[in-house]
Amino acid sequence: MSEAARKDTAEQAEFREYCREWLDKNAPPPAPVRLPLSAIEIMTTDQLDYMQAWQKSAYDAGLVGCDYPVECGGGGRTDCQRVANEEMQRAGTPIFPNIIGLGMAAPTVFFHAQEPLKQALLPKLLSGEEIWCQGFSEPGSGSDLASVQTFAERKGDKWVINGHKVWTSLAHFATWMIILVRTDKAHKYEGLSYFVVPIKAALGKGVTVRPLIKMTAETGFNEVLFDNLEIDDSMRLDEVGKGWDVAMTTLAHERGAGKLVTPAAGGRRDANEQAGFIGGLTSLAKDSFRNGRRAIDDPVMRDRLMQMMIREQGFGLNQKRMRVPALNDHPMRIALQFKLAISELAQDASELALDLEGAASSLYLGDENAPAGGKWALSYMNSFGHTIAAGTSEVQRNILGERVLGLPKTK
């Protein structure tokens, strides 16, 4: 019996068995295309089609949305998403494309929408048939999210939205957007409201999606312009003026600190990839040379590799310890570190990989001599997307200092 299975409830144990059998028979074949490192880096419809087909088949099998009620398109189970995630990761499946939908929109809609809206939106969100994006950041509102200026003006049963959202991952594929808007200019926090917006249906009719080019030269995120877009009041989540509270539900789940476990499949990208950073870095160190000897025989590089291994395994052990209440004096202390720790770990791992590559670190995608096809140069640059997006590392440290340590608040 695996370690994870030891304390399963009867329902979890039966479900785990089911997941294993299904994954044995149905784990998808290797991707015909280069898959992105994360779902927010999906560039092409070839990538999207492959990943969407995988999410749909996992959903149809009951491995996605296990803990949501049946009437919302879920599995109606209790604490089984964690089991499905463990088994999908064990099986090394590809990742899901609808990451914003699963991780942020679904719990927000579930906790704050009226029943008919939940039942209308959640099934196709969970299946991945409808991709979601998130309209939070604006050109003038990054870390200070509550300063958003995109305005929704009430006209009877309708709202008219004008404004400008940026850094919107997946907007070019998205059917729906969750959006934080201002409905009252007099109050900063209480002047915010939260909606879902059918952006694909409104393309060219009040919504414009423009791709932004990242520092990697790749596309993948966008700016979204709203010009007198009219939406129905039934698209509103929670009360008018409660948008900040709703946004906190979104952000809690984004930071891995929400009530619902996000469906997450394994991190398989291509056939040769090893699990975790340290495996790949160790292979790289064996194949790289410094000053006439293998990098893996260089004392400084050995020390850095071991530092990385200790951090990476420590991160995993923190997730294990987080579930032992007696070994946590503050219940949110480790959960709120998740996003900060994993994004900085990934950044430092990529940087170490480039150091190991040495001269070859100059080679990028499309160069036949680039180690691992230029993957580390790409992931190092992309890592800054993760330390900036969803609350910069600096904002994350404020949150930890204030909510966990109780230090005086920034706002």
């Binding site: 160790t282 000897r293 050995r302 200790i310 420590g314 007696a326 570190q337 720790a341 440290r397 340590l405």
Partner: protein, 377 residues
């Protein structure tokens, strides 16, 4: 044996931990500790040994010395996870006592499996304090010859850097019999046994050279190297746990000060130059603490990865302790630099423990030998 999801930290371990925390809060609050160890500041006072034998007797009565002693030798036979929890609380209290070396000695003796070692374990269960005398002048506790030699069953030479040497009844001595490395038990009061105290920075322990001249000794094992290798994961894990507990005290104490101290019309904890490093310290503690409980759990499950886990724990804890100790003094400002502020007691204990039995780079070097293989010449 499969590793449990909760690191083996169950109800009994929690009861022990909570009882230890209450005991130290009640019997050794920080102001009392400061009176005990910091009454008389003098930079070159020579060897010192501050502790409260009455407190030690209470800990013996609570059964803590016999915590990890196997039941066959009259102990409680709890696992290393329980020992780590107790060591963590001792660190949080910056406890001056022979508890930590006695817990370490337990693992060394348990690895021997000899009758003489089991007899020593029984004494520990009854309350005898013991410590390790393995280290040579260069600071090596293995991998290099001891400075103690055996001749006709008697020991001569010096064991260096013996922890809490003045507080214990007996020493576990590593000695060379020709080329072979053996382990002996030496009694404190025996003929030919003298202690030369070291003048050290840390106020919460004493340290000495153990000088032996034709001293009586009882052989515990004729293969010290393999016994030390077997016990090392626990020796490192206990020190890592002590550092985690002390670090949490440093973090919480510094956070409280940052909420109270005002400069520029604000609590200094508002400023990100203070707030962010405190968060970094917290995150380093959490990594070290998770590694520590994982190492303890690996030892209890007799996992082949226990050595790797313990090297990771000691490395993470040592680096964390170095960083956090510096911040705890720095963020207390001028007062933090004075004798009257309590942070120096923990600063000194952490600086001692972080290098004791190897600092971060030392343990990463050994870790690399295991996981990456030896360096090519």
């Amino acid at each position: 044996m499969a590793m449990p999801k909760n690191f083996g930290f169950g109800e009994e371990e929690q009861m022990l931990r909570d009882a230890a925390r209450r005991f130290f809060e009640d019997r050794l609050p920080t102001d009392k500790l400061h009176k005990l160890v910091g009454e008389d500041p003098q930079p070159a006072k020579g060897p010192q040994c501050f502790w409260e034998p009455a407190l030690w007797n209470e800990m013996v009565a609570l059964g803590w010395t016999g915590l990890a002693v196997p039941e066959r030798a009259g102990g409680i036979g709890m696992g290393c996870v329980a020992v780590a929890a107790l060591a963590e609380e001792a660190g949080r209290a910056a406890l001056p006592s022979p508890l930590i070396p006695t817990l370490q000695a337990t693992y060394l003796l348990a690895a021997c499996g000899s009758e003489s070692a089991d007899a020593a374990l029984s004494r520990i269960a009854e309350g005898s304090a013991m410590t390790l005398a393995l280290t040579n002048r260069q600071g090596a506790w293995g991998g290099a010859a001891s400075d103690v030699r055996v001749s006709d069953g008697r020991l001569s030479g010096t064991a260096w850097y013996v922890q809490d040497a003045a507080k214990v009844e007996a020493y576990l001595v590593r000695a060379m019999d020709g080329d072979s490395e053996k382990l002996y038990l030496v009694e404190k009061g025996a003929a030919g046994v003298t202690l030369a105290g070291d003048a050290i920075v840390d106020l919460t322990r004493d340290q000495a050279r153990l000088n032996l001249e034709q001293a009586d000794a009882v052989e515990l094992s004729d293969n010290a190297a393999s016994i030390i290798a077997a016990a090392e994961p626990a020796l490192f894990t206990i020190l890592a746990a002590d550092m985690c507990g002390a670090a949490e005290w440093q973090l919480q104490t510094t956070v409280e000060y940052a909420k109270v101290r005002q400069q520029f019309e604000r609590q200094i904890g508002f400023f990100q130059a203070i707030k962010h490093p405190l968060v970094n310290f917290m995150m380093e503690i959490d990594i070290a603490r998770s590694h520590t409980y994982n190492a303890a759990c690996s030892i209890d499950c007799a996992e082949p990865g226990a050595a790797v886990a313990a090297h990771m724990a000691k490395s993470a804890a040592s680096d964390m302790a170095a960083f956090g100790s510096g911040r705890s003094v720095q963020f207390h400002g001028g007062i933090g630099f004075t004798w009257e502020c309590y942070v120096h007691i923990y600063f000194k204990r952490q600086n001692h423990n972080l290098r004791l039995m190897g600092d971060g780079p030392y343990h990463r070097d050994r870790l690399a030998s295991i996981t990456l293989g030896s360096e090519a010449a």
